[in-house]
């Protein structure tokens, strides 16, 4: 069974249709890249998969391991194993990263009928993950993302991805706002999480990120549809010729 199946998805925001029948099938172990110009609907797709309010699905389906994802609350999706790494992770003053991650992990475990993880066990786990991502301990004591640099915020997203061990990771514009060193650290973190059971959907404008996270499948989005799919060489082709050729195709 495919892990994630988006079938003929149509989505509106207020009166405007953003996605006009988008389809996508992601199998375990695969890394898919979704590329496309601004306004093509890439971020809308990621938000709808995660369950962000404000989008009206007027047609189509999203299945996760065969289950209807659109029927689930955002927190249920997370507990099932859907993870969205945000393009712009929010700052939550007054809620420490420790506290937030512990509460979130336990909420997911509780939803799955698993035992809660104790504070010492959680501490040990989060320390190990933080160390592997070069995240200093004191960052975990601060408010979630408060005063973090762009790179630190993205690393914090990957830290959460590593901690929650989701089945599908959607990475929304992970490269935005990152310099080349920060990008490499983030990409290494993502690559370390690649596994035969897990799939990733990498959303990006630029081919650059795909030098670090090498995809199995590349999709080009334009005007709310996937207009072309191919292997990793498609990304290089786009870098050469730009998106203009697809604007007409859509």
């Amino acid at each position: 069974m495919s892990l994630l199946e988006v079938k003929d998805l149509q989505v509106r925001v207020e009166e405007r249709e953003i996605l006009h029948g988008l389809s996508l099938t992601v199998n375990p172990g695969q890394v898919h890249a979704i590329m496309g110009p601004n306004g093509s609907g890439k971020s809308t797709l990621s938000h709808v998969i995660a369950g962000k309010p404000g989008y009206e699905v007027t047609g189509g389906q999203i299945l996760f391991k065969g289950e209807d994802l659109l029927e689930m609350a955002p927190n249920e999706r997370a507990a099932k194993g859907v993870f969205l790494a945000f393009q712009y992770p929010v700052e939550i003053p007054g809620v420490t990263t420790w506290n937030f991650l512990h509460a979130a992990l336990n909420a997911q475990r509780k939803a799955r009928g698993e035992d809660e993880i104790s504070s010492p066990a959680f501490l040990k786990k989060v320390r190990e993950v933080a160390k592997s991502l070069n995240i200093p301990q004191d960052m975990l004591k601060r408010g979630v993302n408060v005063g973090f640099s762009g790179g630190e915020k993205k690393r914090n997203e990957i830290l959460q991805m590593a901690l929650f061990e989701p089945a599908v990771c959607i990475l929304d514009e992970m490269d935005s706002g990152l310099d080349i060193d920060a990008l490499r650290i983030a990409a290494d973190g993502v690559n370390a999480l690649r596994s035969p059971e897990r799939a990733m959907v990498v959303i990006t404008h630029y081919q650059r990120l795909l030098n670090y996270i090498v995809p199995d499948v590349v999709h080009v989005m334009s005007k709310g549809r996937v207009v072309k799919s191919g292997g990793k060489e498609l990304a290089l082709e786009l870098e050469e010729s730009g998106y203009a050729q697809f604007e007409d195709a859509a």
């Binding site: 309010p53 939550i92 007054g94 506290n99 979130a104």
Partner: protein, 440 residues
């Protein structure tokens, strides 16, 4: 001239006062003061919305009448009170208990008082006829009708003296308990005097015994903080959600004195806390902070009057209101900087979080500045929980109520953090937690 027609209930209270007057402690001058206070109250009756200070808290509409005076608690009442106190016990404090407005010596910790500490029931002080002390206990602003009524009717309270140079490590905890099911009113007045170079922590809490519902608590506290003394004050209103709590505190600071106060209101159907703080000595410092956590049809009003009378004083106010359902939170903060009070540094920040479309929060900051070399500022915001934060938290697996609870804790946290004592900060956090859990 605003002539107010006397209501039926006002007349009933007049009759009630005539009946109980002779049973109230304090003769001679005190009895005269009670009479004057009662007359002052009678001239206006319950305050209503046409009086500017009571615009948002119309007691004539909300409370309608002052209930009959509570009888002295019997053994059964004391037992119920004991059970209620046990549920909210705070470790390491010296507990002083008022049940239905009467000092309950048997429920209080009066043993081995520290040197320099004196604790007496108000009734005893008044009966003993200590003229100066009695006068101080009744020296309050009777132009405020509810303070006047409190002075007229006060049956008991606690009189605490801290002798010069005494620093107490064990906090004092005044617990007000409503014991019974009958709808009655209690009137208490307490006095706390800190000598020079003293330090003490006072906790006040308001509780209901099981079954106590629609009672009225009318409380007054008078505090004098001597030169170079420090008072830390934590006030927790966890009355029954059908109860009324109309309280006032009048605090005066000497030179280089420090007053840190924090109030949390999660109980009471209608509550009003009137806090008047006067910086009367140069170099004094005031921090007044508070949190309202209310839902259902609760109405909670904090009215603060910060009076900078002398130069070189600083005051800070941080106030947070979390309002759900059809509840109504009111914060009125008035800062006066008198002509002589140069170099005053006064700041006030109040924020309200509305959790439902029908919730209401009124913030009324007022600055009256008569000195020219001062730093003063205020700010007020009202808003809902940030949807983008909620979505982020839910996308990480937190159910909506849990995500809201974390954000609410963070929102009130900034005010709770101002409590100096770690242990009492935990007590306040636990009170907020109880509210959040009841909501989930």
């Amino acid at each position: 001239m605003n002539v107010v027609a006397k209501t039926e209930t006002g007349r009933a209270l007049g009759d009630a006062f005539a009946v109980v007057r002779d049973r109230l402690p304090g003769k001679g001058k005190i009895a005269d003061q009670r009479q004057q206070a009662f007359e002052a109250y009678e001239r206006s009756g319950l305050p209503h919305r046409r009086i500017e200070d009571w615009k948002y808290t119309d007691l004539r509409a909300l409370m309608r009448e002052v209930l009959p005076l509570a009888p002295a608690p019997d053994a059964a009442a004391l037992d119920r009170a004991t059970a209620a106190i046990k549920l909210r016990a705070i470790d390491g404090v010296r507990r002083l208990v008022l049940v239905d407005g009467a000092f309950a010596a048997d429920l209080s910790d009066l043993g081995s008082l520290e040197k320099g500490l004196s604790v007496r029931p108000l009734r005893e002080v008044l009966d003993a006829g200590d003229a100066a002390l009695s006068a101080q206990a009744f020296a309050s602003d009777i132009s405020n009708p509810m303070i006047a009524l409190n002075g007229a009717m006060a049956t008991d309270g606690v009189v605490i003296d801290i002798a010069d140079g005494t620093v107490l490590t064990r906090p004092l905890h005044i617990v007000h308990v409503a014991s019974g099911t009958a709808p009655v009113a209690t009137f208490t007045r307490s006095l706390l005097r800190l000598g020079r170079d003293t330090g003490v922590t006072l906790v006040e809490s308001y509780l209901a015994a099981e079954g106590a519902k629609a009672y009225q608590t009318h409380d007054g506290l008078i505090v004098a903080i001597g030169d170079n003394a420090r008072l830390d004050h934590v006030r927790l209103v966890e009355d029954s959600v059908d109860a009324f709590n109309i309280s006032s505190a009048t605090v005066t600071l000497g030179a280089h004195a420090h007053f840190n106060t924090f109030g949390l209101t999660s109980g009471g159907h209608v509550s009003r806390y009137q806090l008047t703080v006067t910086c009367a000595g140069e170099g004094s410092k005031v921090e007044t902070n508070g949190v309202n956590l209310i839902n259902g049809k609760q109405h909670a009003d904090t009215t603060l009057f910060m009076d900078h009378a002398v130069p070189h004083c600083a005051s800070r106010e941080i106030f947070r209101a979390v309002v759900d359902d059809r509840a109504h939170s009111v914060f009125q903060g008035r800062i006066i900087v008198r002509p002589d009070a140069q170099k005053t540094d006064a700041k006030m920040m109040t924020r309200a979080l509305l959790l439902s479309d029908d919730a209401e929060a009124d913030n009324k900051p007022e600055l009256e500045i008569f000195a020219d070399d001062v730093t003063c500022g205020h700010g007020a915001t009202t808003g809902a929980l940030d949807e983008s934060l909620l979505f982020y938290m839910r996308a990480r697996g937190l159910p909506e109520k849990e995500a809201q609870a974390l954000l609410i804790q963070a929102f009130v946290g900034e005010a709770i953090e101002t409590i100096a004592s770690d242990a009492l900060r935990e007590v306040a956090i636990a009170a907020a937690q109880r509210w959040l859990e009841a909501r989930a």
